[in-house]
Structures are given as structure tokens and as C-alpha cells.
């Protein structure tokens, strides 16, 4: 169990650091979330993955 924990933590850390590096490089190149939301290809995915949309989906699934 401890070994699995170590592997999972290491992989998660690597993925998160890689993601942050990507974000940082993009920011240094002039990218921003506002520009991303103006991208028509990315907009549907961003809306779908927004926390509000996920909550709505869950409540709709459980019929609340």
C-alpha cells in the first residue's frame, strides 16, 4: 500500500507540475483564460467542464 501511495503521489506530482509549466509557458507567451474563452472550438468543452454545469448535471441525474 505504501509503495502504491508513493507511486500515485509521484505521478500526480509530475502531472500537476507539467500542467503548471504548460500554463506558465502559455501565460508567458501572452495567453490568458479570456482569450481561451473566445476560442470557439474550446468554448463548448470549457462550458461543459465548468463546476456549475457539473453540479447541474449531478442534480439532474439524482432528480433533485
Amino acid at each position: 500500500m505504501k509503495n502504491i501511495w508513493k507511486v500515485v503521489l509521484l505521478v500526480s506530482l509530475i502531472l500537476c507540475v507539467a500542467g503548471l509549466i504548460c500554463g506558465a509557458v502559455s501565460y508567458l507567451m501572452g495567453g490568458s483564460l479570456d482569450n481561451l474563452y473566445q476560442n470557439k472550438t474550446a468554448l463548448p468543452v470549457l462550458e461543459m467542464l465548468s463546476p456549475l454545469n457539473i453540479l447541474n448535471s449531478i442534480t439532474a441525474f439524482f432528480g433533485v
Partner: protein
């Protein structure tokens, strides 16, 4: 036949368990120790027998109880963090072990040679060979043994310790206690099962959150691949996807780990409660 031989025979024939059997059985139960620790624990008990002496060997066994009880005591002490007295030098103990297990006997005696040879055969050879060997060895009749014991001079052996097996005074109460403990352990297991269902449900919800993160990761990475023309947007999408992947993996593993560890602890404690009651009974 000498006093020692007679005594050995007396022990072998008249008593239920001797030192060798006790240590061998104890060694089998000590699975919760590492092999090295097991050797040291058995050596420590061997020392205990040595210090008690041949005269008090069976009294010590009676005091310790059954090997299983001793092993349970050791496990409890280990779990409670109590320091268990171990033998100082295991390697030296291992080397000295064969001589420690020997019972003082005269080599020229036929009976002694027979019993030693039978033990050696039993330890070393497979079953088929054991049968063949036991047929070959001469069998000493019981009458001879009885005569030998009666011939032991009283001045040489003034007192031969007689081991009396502890008798259960009230067997009916014992069985009633056992019934109660069995009911308690069954109740505990039913409770643990119900609680484990709740734990599984909670862990499934947590795992679902992790799955949502992983699904989000896949969508973000695919969208990033579609937007490779706009490199800044693609990098942001890749970055978001990778962070989602890391978090999703962590959350899913946490849910699995929590479910496994909580449920196993729950059932272990339920079973332990039942077995404790049985031991007390």
C-alpha cells in the same frame, strides 16, 4: 537403563507435550513475526526452558499454557507496542540449537537410540520413507518401559515431577460462554458488513469525482490537440488537462485505499472482538 533414560521415557509416554513439541508448535504460530524475530523468540523460550531446568520443564509448559495461547499473548504484546524479550544473538542460538534440544540419554541404550532415530527419520524423510524406516526400527514393548521406570532408584531420582493436565471444572459453562462469544462475533461481522456498505457508497462518490476529473482531462487534451494552431490556447488546455489527470488519479486512489483499509480494519476488529471473547471464555 539409567535414570535419565527412564525419565525421558516417562516424559514421552506419560505427558502430553514436551519442550520440543511446545517450541515446534509455537514456532508454527509465530507467523506475524519475521523469520529472524521468530528464531529469536523461540530462542528466548528455549533459554527460559534451560533456566527452568529439566525438572521444571513441564511445570513451565503448564504455566505458559498452550503454544497458541503463548503466541496470542505475544501478538497482543507486539500490537500494544510492548517490548518482547528476545534472545541476544540469534546466529549463536541457531548454532547451539541442536544441542539444546537434546535430552540427556545414554547412547548405548537401545530404546534411546530407537527414539532418536525415529525422530531423525520423521524430520528428514518423506512420508513413504518414514513408514519404511519405522518398520525397520525395533519396537520396545510397553512392559519394558514400565519395568524400567519402576527400577529407577529412589536415592538417584527422589522426585519425578508429574505433570497433570489442567481439567475443566465446569464444561457446560465453558460451552455456554463459547456460544455467547460466537453470537457476539457474528453480530460484529453483520455490523461490519452494514458499515462497510456505507463506506463503499461514500468511497464510490469520491471515486466518481476523480472519474469526472479524468473525463475532463481527456476532453481538455483532445480540445488542445484540435487547437494546435493557437499555441497559447493549446498550452493552457494541455496544462489544465494534466492538472486534472493528476488530481483525478490521486482522488481515485484515495477512494480505493480508504475503502480497502477501512473495511479491512472494520472486519479485523470485529473478528478480534469475537476471538478475544473466546479466549476469555
Amino acid at each position: 537403563m539409567s535414570y535419565y533414560t527412564a525419565k525421558y521415557i516417562f516424559h514421552e509416554e506419560g505427558l502430553k507435550m514436551n519442550r520440543q513439541q511446545f517450541l515446534a508448535e509455537l514456532n508454527q504460530y509465530l507467523t506475524f513475526f519475521s523469520p529472524e524475530e521468530r528464531v529469536r523468540v523461540v530462542s528466548a523460550y528455549n533459554e527460559k526452558f534451560d533456566s527452568a531446568g529439566l525438572e521444571n520443564e513441564f511445570a513451565l509448559i503448564a504455566e505458559l499454557g498452550t503454544p497458541m495461547k503463548t503466541a496470542i499473548d505475544l501478538k497482543r504484546r507486539m500490537e500494544s507496542g510492548e517490548k518482547i524479550a528476545l534472545a541476544a544473538d540469534p546466529e549463536a542460538r541457531e548454532e547451539a540449537a541442536p544441542s539444546e534440544y537434546n535430552v540427556e540419554t545414554e547412547p548405548e541404550e537401545t530404546l534411546n537410540a530407537t527414539s532418536e532415530a525415529q525422530e531423525a527419520v520423521a524430520e528428514d524423510l518423506p512420508v513413504a520413507s518414514q513408514e519404511a524406516a519405522s518398520e525397520e526400527l525395533p519396537v520396545v514393548p510397553q512392559e519394558t518401559v514400565a519395568e524400567t521406570v519402576s527400577e529407577v532408584p529412589s536415592e538417584v531420582a527422589p522426585e519425578i515431577p508429574v505433570y497433570e493436565a489442567p481439567q475443566k471444572e465446569k464444561p457446560s459453562e465453558y460451552y455456554e460462554e463459547n456460544k455467547t462469544s460466537r453470537k457476539i462475533s457474528v453480530g460484529g461481522i453483520i455490523g461490519a458488513t452494514l458499515l462497510s456498505i456505507v463506506i463503499v457508497a461514500v468511497c464510490l462518490v469520491v471515486a466518481a469525482v476523480g472519474v469526472i476529473f479524468l473525463v475532463g482531462m481527456s476532453y481538455l487534451l483532445l480540445t488542445g490537440l484540435k487547437n494546435l494552431l493557437y499555441i497559447t490556447d493549446a498550452l493552457l488546455l494541455f496544462g489544465g488537462g494534466l492538472v486534472c489527470a493528476g488530481l483525478g488519479l490521486l482522488i481515485i486512489w484515495f477512494a480505493v485505499w480508504a475503502a480497502i483499509s477501512l473495511i479491512s480494519k472494520l472486519f479485523r476488529s470485529a473478528i478480534r472482538t469475537g476471538s478475544d471473547k473466546e479466549c476469555v471464555a
